[in-house]
Every structure is written in C-alpha cells, then in structure tokens.
Symmetry: C2
Subunit: 302 residues, 2 copies
C-alpha cells in the first residue's frame, strides 16, 4: 500500500501549497482521492501514468477538492485514453462535468461513469476480488464523504514442501490456499494449517476530509492501518474549526485513538501557521503514531 | 501598456507549460485575458494584486482557456474581496460558474457580473473615459471571440509657457487640452496647435486565440500596436491547423502583415515541437516584427 500526497493544504492553491489530491496504490489499483486545481500537473510531476487511474473519489464539492477534476477528464480525452473512468462523488458532480463538456463541445472518447452519492450511511461503493471501498459519512458545510479502502484477505500461502511431505496431490493445492482441509493420497485428512501459512495481513486506509470532529465515524474506521484525518486548525482555533466544520489536530488524534488505528496522517492544513510541525506536536499529546502529510511526500505502508 | 504572459501553451497544463492566461495593464486597468487551470497560482507568482483585476475576458469555453476561472472567483471570495468583478465570455459561462457555486454552497461576497456574448459581429463591450474594449469574432470549433483593447486619445499637452506668452487666461487651459482654439485676453483667437502638443499616441492590443486563419478580422485589428495571434502549429502541420481550426505561425504573420500591426506576438504553441524559436523563424518569412510569448515573460509596450 503506497500513498502519494499530491496536495494537502486547505482553501486555495499557491505556488508552494497544493490543495487536496492523493493517489493510493492498493493491489494494483491507483485510486485518485480528491482532485484540487492543478492535480493533473502534480500527477505528471510524479510520473503517475494517467491510464492507471481508473477510479476517482471526490469527498465533496468545495473547489479545493475538485476544481482539477474537469481538467483531468479533459486531458485524458486529449491523450486519447481508452480505459474506462469511474468517478465517485456527491450528487451534482455529473452535472458540473457534463455541462463543461457540452459547452466545450468535447466528449470523452472513453467510457466515463458517474457514481453519485447521496446516502448518509456508510455504503460499499466498489468491490473486486481484492479490494473494497466504503464511504465514510462526514459532516461539513456541504454533503461530504470520506472513503475507506480495504484489501480483502488474500489466499493462504502454501508450504509446498510440507504439502508434498504430507503426500497431498497437487490437484488439491488450490483448495489448500483457499483454507480448506484436504484428503491426502493415503486417505488421511490433513489440517489446512499444517501445510499452509497465514496470508499477508490485509491493509486498510481511511481518508477523512473535510469534517468537523465526528465520533460516529469511529466504528467505520476501527482498526485501519492508516487514517488520514483533516486537521485544518490548531487547538487555539478550535472555535474556528467548529464554525467552519473542520477539525483540529487534537481532534483528529482523538478519533485515531478511539478507532485504534495504526498511523494517523494529518493534512488539510490552513496556511496561517508558521510550521506544520505544530500539528504533529499537538496530535502527539493524544496519540503517539502521527505522521504529517506534505505535498510530494510518498508513504510506503507495507 | 504592459503585458504579462502567465501561460501560452495549448491543450493541457504541464509542469513547465501553462495554458492560456495573460494580464494586460492599460491605463491603470489590469485586464485578465483567458484563465487556464492554475492561473491563480501564476498571478500570485507574479505578485499581481488580485483586487486590481476587475475585468476578465474569456475567449471561448475550451478548458485550456477557462478551467482556472471558477477557482479564481472562489479564491477572491476566500480573500474577502469587495471590488466588483466583471466576466466577459461566451454564453454558458454564467451557468458553469453559478452551478459550481451552488453545489459548494458558496456565494461571492462581492458583486459578480456576467457579460455573456453571442454576437458574431464585433461589439463594444467595455468603455470608460480612457479605454475601449471590442470583441473580435473568431472562428474555432466552438463560439470564440478575441478582444481588442484600445486606449482613447488622451488630452493634448499644454505648452504652459507658450500659452502664457500668448496671453491666454488660465480659465481656458482645460479647453486647450481638449483641442479647442480659444480667445486670449486681447480678444485674438489663438490656434490650439500653437500652444499645445500632441498627446501620447494611444496604444492598442488585440488578442486573437483560438482561431483558424480568418481574414475578416483584419479590418477590426487594422494598425494595432501589438497583435497576439495564436500559432498552434508550424507550416508542416497546416492540414492539422485547418482540421482543428487553429492557425500556423505563417498564417498569423499573414494576418499581422495585412493588418499593418506594429508587433506580432505568437503563442498557443503545441508542445509537439522541439523549440518555440521555429514559430518565430517561420513567421519572420512573412512579417518582420515578431516576438514570442513565453510563460512568465513581461512585455513593456510603451
């Protein structure tokens, strides 16, 4: 599981501060999460192949999270993309994109699917044989969702040597990987765990931005390996966080602690502060495993 | 008259190639012409005060000319702008912007006026005591206009010494500046030109992008000091220019020559070529005063 932060600042893009966009690499997928203005340039800068992005998840329709979307869709067309593209985001997103395509008289040459969200409950919105994606209902000034990305448990690892010693016919190896006990050539039942090893622990990542401090997300994100939780403000501006429906670093840490997550990743910083280290310092008073997202930073959570 | 090129490449923004946006400073106005994605960041980079921009002219609704507009409007709001903002552009531009504001539930705290264009004839769309702006109907894949910015002739310069020697009462100085002959204290008519000097020659700038080679614009831009004319392609790709309704550098030069302009400024280059110097070389075979626009380049046409 690899996460590339393309942008992690709030409000408006500046020369040295990109607005929200990140790429999560999970099981051969490249999931683009949010798409602030200029995201396509950051994707190029990081040499991320446009064609590998097949799913884009937009948290909410504030500009710093989606003003780069229509440009990206449009660039995909110019580059004669053929791969399907799926967009997940609040209702209205389809109208914005298609209106601009209509006015520009430029339609995509690839299949573009919109999955518009309206539910206030967590929903499974994507699934294949290896990964599931759920929404995380957030509370912000407009309808907003976080996203939970979960690897499915993989097959058990076969201990080939042990299986052969146990005189199991090769034809049963697939069943073994799937966790079943099997009969060997001598008619004995071989317990699965004696010839297989546990699979790699499946990874999970939760993206929560933008949101006010909201404890109801805790059961949804319980035990995730990595939680990205917005921390627009420091403690001294908690009143602003409440007013604008954002969170402080301490509040993000409280959520991380309650949900027993592995690592808390902070982001969506207001640019009013001298240093983003202050966010880490405050969060660490509540929760010990805190990392700072930073434009251009790449995290390998393996 | 000062022109700052924020971006001058076609199609899609890249790390080193911004799409179209430029700022024309004319008689205390800061006119923003086109607004590709990322324009707000380029404005910051050039330390152009956001509040000084009161008029934005959008040529057409292709993304590389206007995907930065809604972000800019939105940033103006976050910065608690108070100055009025006027947007000129093709019909549809208001719907795009207001839809996105509605979905984000964020309205401007300043007055935002849309001036939607539909005419296929040149129109006067802005005028004050010093400047006029006209549309230049272009021909592209979608409805498009260039813009002609013209300083009005200023007042004549008073030769105070000569006026006093001619025994003219100060009360008449204003009339002299306006070009009238006046009567002196001795009852004689004093010809205006004997006590005044010609005003500075008014400047003019024509922006023409995107367009196929179109001779009907020549009378509109006749004699302008500076003509920015798109040159997406080189001669060898003239067939592509025709097909995509763009121009070659040579075609831009032909227009410049026919219209007797002072300087031809090329731009809207395709990124397929090794060097933009090739555009200049080709244009110079037809017209001698050619300059290349380049991202970040500032031209003082005084």
């Amino acid at each position: 599981m690899k996460l590339t932060i393309l942008g992690c600042y709030s409000a408006t893009p500046r020369a040295l501060n990109n607005t929200t966009a990140q790429v999560l690499e999970m099981n051969n997928h490249m999931f683009l999460i949010d798409c602030g203005e200029g995201t396509q340039v950051e994707l190029r800068r990081h040499k991320i192949k446009f064609n590998r992005i097949k799913h884009i998840f937009i948290s909410h329709l504030h500009g710093d999270h989606f003003f780069g979307l229509v440009g990206l869709i449009s660039t995909f067309r110019l580059l004669t993309r053929e791969a399907d593209l799926h967009i997940y985001g609040p209702k209205g997103i389809k109208e914005v994109v298609t209106l601009q395509m209509r006015l520009a008289d430029s339609w995509t040459n690839y299949n573009l699917y919109f999955h518009e969200l309206t539910s206030k409950e967590s929903e499974l919105i994507f699934e294949d044989d290896k990964v599931q994606v759920y929404t995380i209902p957030l509370e912000h000034r407009v309808y907003a969702n976080g996203y939970l990305f979960k690897e499915k448990p993989g097959d058990r690892k076969l201990d080939v040597k042990a299986a052969k010693s146990a005189n199991i016919n090769k034809a049963y190896f697939k069943k073994l990987k799937q966790g079943f006990d099997v009969e060997n050539e001598d008619g004995e039942i071989i317990p699965n765990t004696s010839v297989t090893l546990d699979p790699k622990k499946p990874k999970s990542y939760a993206f929560c931005s933008d949101t006010v401090y909201k404890e109801t997300i805790v059961p949804i994100i319980e035990g995730v390996d990595v939680l990205y939780h917005e921390s627009t403000f420091l403690d001294k501006h908690e009143h602003l966080a409440e007013k604008t429906k954002h969170s402080t670093a301490t509040q993000a840490a409280k959520i991380a602690k309650s949900a027993h997550v592995g690592t808390l990743l902070l982001g969506h910083y207001s640019t009013r502060y001298d240093s983003i280290d202050l966010f880490k310092k405050e969060a660490e008073t509540v929760f010990k495993s805190v990392k700072l997202s930073k434009d251009g930073r790449v995290f390998n959570f393996s």
